[in-house]
C-alpha cells in the first residue's frame, strides 16, 4: 500500500506493507538516525516526532502515520548540531547508539516545557536508555543546553 508522510518538512510517498512499522519504513529510506535498539518500545533509540510529539517509531504502524508530519534528526540538523556541542563538552557521548533518539527527545523537551525542574527533565528523558554514560554527564549537558536556549 501507499502512504504519504510529511517527512522532515517534505511530503513524500512511501510504498509499504500493511504490517510494516514506521521504524523500518524510515530506515529503508536512509533515515539512519532512527535506530532499532529493542524492537519492543522500551529503549527510546527509535524516537521520532509525529506531529511534533516524541513517539517510538518501532511501535507505530507506518499505515497509521499516513498523512502525519514526521520529524527525525535528519530534519533538525542545526538544532542537533548545537545539542551535540554540549554533549561533547561533557563527554556525554560514548557509543552514540542512543544519542540521536535522545537528541530528538531533548529537542521536544525544549519546545514542550518552560523552565523544567530537574525532576521534570529526568521524567521527560527517562525512556531514552543508555548503557554507557551513567547518565550524569548527559543530564548536565541537557541542563546546559536548556540554559543556553533561554
Amino acid at each position: 500500500m501507499k502512504i504519504t508522510l510529511k517527512l522532515n518538512g517534505h511530503p513524500r510517498l512511501f510504498e509499504i506493507t500493511p504490517n510494516e512499522y514506521l521504524l523500518d519504513t524510515l530506515r529503508k529510506n536512509n533515515m539512519t538516525s532512527v535506530k532499532n535498539g529493542c524492537d519492543a518500545s522500551s529503549c527510546g533509540a527509535c524516537s521520532v516526532l509525529i506531529d511534533g510529539k516524541p513517539m517510538l517509531s518501532c511501535s507505530v504502524l507506518s499505515a497509521r502515520a499516513d498523512g502525519c508530519e514526521v520529524t527525525t534528526v535528519e530534519g533538525i540538523q542545526k538544532e542537533v548540531d548545537h545539542i551535540s556541542d554540549f554533549f561533547g563538552d561533557e563527554g556525554a557521548d560514548q557509543c552514540g547508539f542512543c544519542n540521536s533518539g535522545l537528541a530528538l527527545t531533548i529537542y521536544a523537551l525544549q519546545k514542550d516545557l518552560k523552565n523544567p525542574t530537574d525532576e521534570e527533565i529526568k521524567n521527560y528523558v527517562v525512556g531514552n536508555l543508555c548503557r554507557c554514560s551513567g547518565y550524569q554527564a548527559q543530564f548536565i549537558a541537557i541542563k546546559r543546553y536548556l540554559e543556553d536556549q533561554k
Partner: protein, 773 residues
Amino acid sequence: MKIVKTKIPSIDGKGIMMGRPAYTDDLSDPNSLIVKLLRSPYAFAKIVSIDTSKAENLEGVELVLTYKDVPKKSFTRAGQGYPEPSPHDKFVFDEYARYVGDEVACVAAVSEVIAEKALSLIEVKYEQLEAVLDFETAIDSPIIVHPEDGILEMFPIGFEPKRNIAAVYGMEVGKVEKTLKECEVIIKESFYTQAQAHAMMEPHTVNARLDIHNRLVLYSSTQTPFHVRRIVSQTLDVPLSRIRVIKPRVGGGFGGKQALHGEMFVSLVTLRTGKPSKIVYSRKEVFESTFTRHPMRVDMTLGAMKDGTLKAIDCHVLSDTGAYGEHALTVFMVTGAKVLPLYNKVDAVRFNGEVVYTNHVSAGAFRGYGAIQGNFALESAIDILCTKLDMDPIEFRQKNMIVEGETSPIFEIMGEGTAGTAMIMESCKLDYCVKRGIELIDWKKKYPRVDLKNHKIKAVGMAIAMQGSGIPYIDMGAATIKLNDDGFYNLMVGATDIGQGSDTILAQIAAEALMTTVDKVIVYSSDSDLTPFDTGAYASSTTYVSGNAVLKAATQMKEMIIIEAAKVLKVEPKDVDYDGVVLKAKDQQITLSDLSNRLTYNEDQKQLTTTGSYVGHKSPPPFMAGLIEIDIDKETGEFDIIDYVSVVDCGTPINLKLAQGQVEGGIVQGLGMAAFEEVRYGKKGNMLSNSFLYYKIPTTKQIHKLTTEFAESYETSGPFGAKSVGEIGIDTPPAALANAVYNALGVRITSLPITSEKIYNAMQEKKQKESNS
C-alpha cells in the same frame, strides 16, 4: 602535555548524534538477504529429525542450513587470541541443543517476513533431555551437557566434559591451612553472584558480501575484528587471505561483542549463495542467545590477628559457564588474580575451583571479567572480619592493602589461562584514593549510619578495587602513521573503538607526540585489510597497549620528519629544532606543510609512513576506592542511592571527560548488578528476563549523584603515564552497597542483587533470631 590530560570532545560524537550512517546495519547492502535463526525451545534436547523442505520451497527463500549442511568442526566463539584458553566445544550447527535459544537452523530469504515464515515451516522433532540447571550439582551429574566427540581444549585447562567440567585451576602461596590455625580471628562466608546481561544498546549485527575480487567482506559489530577473521577462516575453511573484516562504529560492547555470534551464519549464506546477507539480532536474541556474566559461588575464608593484621585468604570459586565454555577458565582466574593482590601482605593465600557446564545460556566476557565477582566476595568478607575484630574498615584496609613499590606473588603465578608476570606496583595511589574518598563522602559524619528520623537511615559503605591493563606478552597492538601533503597525518590502528572513545584518545596520544592538534590526525580503525593488527578491545588493553603502539609510531614519524628536514636544510638531524609546525636550523627554516608538499610533489619524493607495535611486559593495575551513600527504609529495606564517590588511579587520564565517562558508566552498570539486574530463568531453563521490560537496567531516574575524581598518578611504562580505565569502575558497587546495607541495618546480604526484598527478609530473620535468644 598540551593535548593529553585535557577534555577535548570525542572526535566522532557530533556526526553520530546527527544521525550519519555509521553502524553496521547502516552500512549493509540494501539487497541483503535477511538471515534468521531457528532456536531451540528446550534447555537440552537432541534433534531426532529435521525437515526443511517446506521452508526451502517457500518463494523468496534462498537457503536453509542445519547441522546436515555444515561440516562438524568444533570451535569457540570466545573471540580470543590463538590458541584460545577456551575449549573448542561449539559447532556452527549441531544435533544437540544445549540451552533455550541455541541455534538449530538458519534461513536466508529476500525479506524479514518471508524469513520468519520460513522458520515456522521447518519441522523439527526433538528428543527432550533432562537438563542441568543447578550449577552447584553439575559436577559428576548423570546428565552430561557435552557427551559428544570432537570437542577439545587447546592446551591443558582441566577440561573434563564427561564430568561437566570446562576448566579447573588451583594455586597456593604459603600454607593456608596452617596459617589459618595460627589466626586469632577467622571468618568464613559463601557469596553468590548472578548472571548479568550486557544490554549494550546496539544489538549484535553482521553483514556479508563478496567484493569484486570474490573475497568475503564482513561488516561486524565486533570488539575483535582480527580474531573474527581468523576464527571464521579456521571454522569455515576459507583462506585467511580471502576474508576482510571491517568494524564500523559499534554501539557498545562491554565484552559482549568480543564473541562471535552472527558472523558464521552470514558468512555461510553469502559464500553459498554469492549474495549479500545480513543478520540483526532481536533484543530477545541478544538476551537469550548471546552471553551473560558468569554466575558464581565464591567461598571466602579470612584469618587475622586481633591487632587487625590479615594473615590468610582462602578462596574457592564455583563458576557457571552455561552451555559452552567461552572464557570459562580466564574469567574464573581473574576472580582471584585481579582481586586477591589487593591484600598482598598475607602469609598465605589459596585460590582454587571449578568452572562447570549447565544448560543455561553461555557466559562470556563482561566488563570486570571475574574481578567484580571476586571483589564482591572479598570486600564484603573484609567488612565481616572488621565487625568481628571491632575495627574500623577503613583503618583495616589502610593497614593491609597494597601500596606503591610493593608486589604480590600472585602476579607471577596467575595470568589469564597461563602463568602470570611478576611486577612491582610502580604506580599505586590506592592510599590517596581511600583518603580522598572518605573526605568526599564525608565518611566520618555518616559512618556507620545516621538516623534520619523519618523511618529512614543514611549509611555509607565502601570497597577498594584493582584491574589490569592488557594481558602481558599476549595482547599486541599496532599503529601506522602516514604523513600527507599539507602536513596532516593518517593514523591507522587495529584498536577497536566500541564507543569508549579509543579513536579519540589514540588521536590525542599521536597529536601530543607529533606536537600537533587532534584535527590534524585522521583516525581510521579496525579494518583487517587496511589497518595493522590489534588483538581488540578487551582486557582493558586499548589505552595501555594500543596507546603505546601509537606513541611508538608517532615518535618514529617525528624522527623521520626531522631527518627529511635536515636534508633540505643541509644540516645534521640533531641540529634541527622542531615545534610540530616549523623545522629550524641556524638561520634557515621550513614548515612541516612545505616539507610535506615538497616530499609529495617536488624533490626526493617519497611517502613517509611508519608502524609501531607494542606488546606489554606487564599489566599495571588501575586502582580505585568506591564509596556509596544510601538512604534506606528501616522497615521495608527500600533504598535510594544518594551518591557514589569514585577516586581512581588510572595513571594519566588521557582525556579527562572520556575517562570520567568510563568510570561513571562502569559504576552505574555495577550498581545495576549490585541492586537489581538479574538474568532469571523459569523451571525449564527458559529465560524469563528476555526484554527490557523484564530485565531492568538503570535509567536516569535512579542516578542522583556521581562524584568522580582522579588521583595524580604516573605509570612510567604507559603512554604519557596512562593505565587502563575501561573496567575498573564496575568492580566496587556490589561490595560497597552490601557493606552500606550492613552498616545501616546490621543485616549482611551475601547474594546479588541486593534487593529490598532480600533486605526485608534478612531483617525478619534477624528479628526472629533476636527474639529467640
